[in-house]
């Protein structure tokens, strides 16, 4: 007499029979589908990246709130400049504007001290504010009369700044062309002296 078969033996036999004949295995809805993505690896790499991006965003927001010149403010000011250039100069001059170029000293990561936010005045190209220039210099003295050589008697030199007398009582200008111009301007005639020798030196005239 044979021992009665147990249920486990029956299941095992049925499983074995099923495994021997896979086509005969019915599909199970609870059995997971094998995937090609290794989700643990993905999680291990994505989490640090997300964390890094979150830190950066937090810092940017913090600098914006503290009133410093961050990259976001620079982007915003650049947009403002682009918008303002399309408007009339008068409209651009009236409203306050922010500087288009960020300060080279500011860095997006460096913590900026908290300062009061002041609207910067937009300066149009070609408009330069200079202090008033006072002309304190006296008019230039042109053609100072040379000092009389020693031992040469001559009257007091009262020639104008552009004339010389060379020991005479006549005011001589530098050239005939200048004399012609002066005569025309002052409604005078022209006197030209042709000499042998150097008129400037008494021993040569």
């Amino acid at each position: 007499m044979t021992a009665p078969r147990s249920s486990s033996n029956t299941q095992k036999t049925s499983l074995a029979e099923m495994m021997a004949h896979p086509s005969q295995q019915p599909p199970s809805p609870l059995q997971p589908v094998p995937s090609h993505i290794h989700w643990p690896v993905v999680a291990a790499t994505a989490l640090p990246c997300l964390l890094f991006v979150g830190i950066i965003i937090a810092l940017l927001v913090r600098t914006e709130n503290s009133g410093g010149r961050g990259i976001l403010s620079a982007w915003r000011s650049a947009e403002v400049v682009v918008v303002q250039n399309t408007t009339s100069p008068k409209e651009a001059e009236d409203g306050p504007a922010e500087p288009a170029i960020p300060s080279p000293e500011s860095t997006p990561l460096a913590p900026e001290p908290e300062v009061a936010l002041r609207p910067a005045r937009l300066t149009l190209p070609g408009k330069v504010n200079l202090p008033d220039r006072e002309d304190d210099d006296p008019p230039a003295q042109i053609g100072q009369a040379p000092a009389a050589p020693a031992g040469e008697p001559e009257p007091a030199d009262k020639a104008g700044p552009a004339c010389q007398r060379f020991g005479t009582a006549v005011d001589f200008v530098a050239s005939q062309m200048e004399a012609s111009r002066q005569a025309l301007v002052q409604d005078k005639l022209m006197f030209v002296l042709h000499i042998s020798g150097n008129f400037e030196e008494a021993r040569f005239t």
Binding site: E154, D171, M190, R203, T205
Partner: protein, 175 residues
């Protein structure tokens, strides 16, 4: 430069003229310090350089002042008489020099005859050449009769070389 150093001459020239100078010749300084050669010519011109009168050679202050005043009066009278007419202005200048040549240099040649000498040949030409023997100012008046509307650049060589007997030179003073 004795005449130009006089205050009266300087005052008159400064009031009525714009003065300039130009070296056109040279001279030699001898070992004993004496100057050999050299001369001076004074031109009274309109602002555009047209010559009204010339004083050739060194003169004293009175003569120089008289010639300067004559040039100023001649210019004013010519402008008043001719009223901007260039041909009449030229004729006026020429007649003025002819009158001075006749009166001051005892030349009895009438004005019309003097004018004919400009384009004359033969005996008239000889008469014109005879004037060249007269003193310097007579030569100047004769030159102004022949060229009454010349610019200073056109006659300065003739004044310096033919009237004064010098040579136009750019050489420095020779010691």
């Amino acid at each position: 430069m004795g005449a130009l150093a006089q205050p009266s001459v300087g005052r008159y020239l400064n009031d009525h003229f714009a003065a300039a100078y130009q070296k056109v010749g040279t001279f030699r300084i001898m070992p004993n310090g004496q100057k050999m050669g050299g001369n001076v010519a004074s031109y009274f011109c309109l602002p555009n350089g047209r010559v009204l009168h010339v004083v050739a050679g060194p003169v004293d202050a009175d003569v120089f002042l008289r010639e300067a005043r004559w040039a100023v009066d001649l210019s004013r009278l010519a402008q008043a008489e001719t009223k901007g007419n260039a041909a009449r202005f030229t004729a006026f200048i020429r007649d003025a020099h002819a009158e001075r040549l006749r009166v001051e240099h005892n030349n009895n040649v009438p004005s019309r005859t003097v004018i004919n000498l400009v384009s004359a040949r033969g005996p008239a030409r000889a008469a014109a050449l005879a004037l060249a023997a007269n003193p310097l100012q007579a030569r100047v008046h004769s030159l102004m009769i022949q060229k009454p509307k010349a610019l200073i650049d056109q006659i300065y060589k003739e004044v310096f070389e033919k009237v004064l007997g010098e040579r136009v030179s750019t050489l420095p003073v020779i010691k």
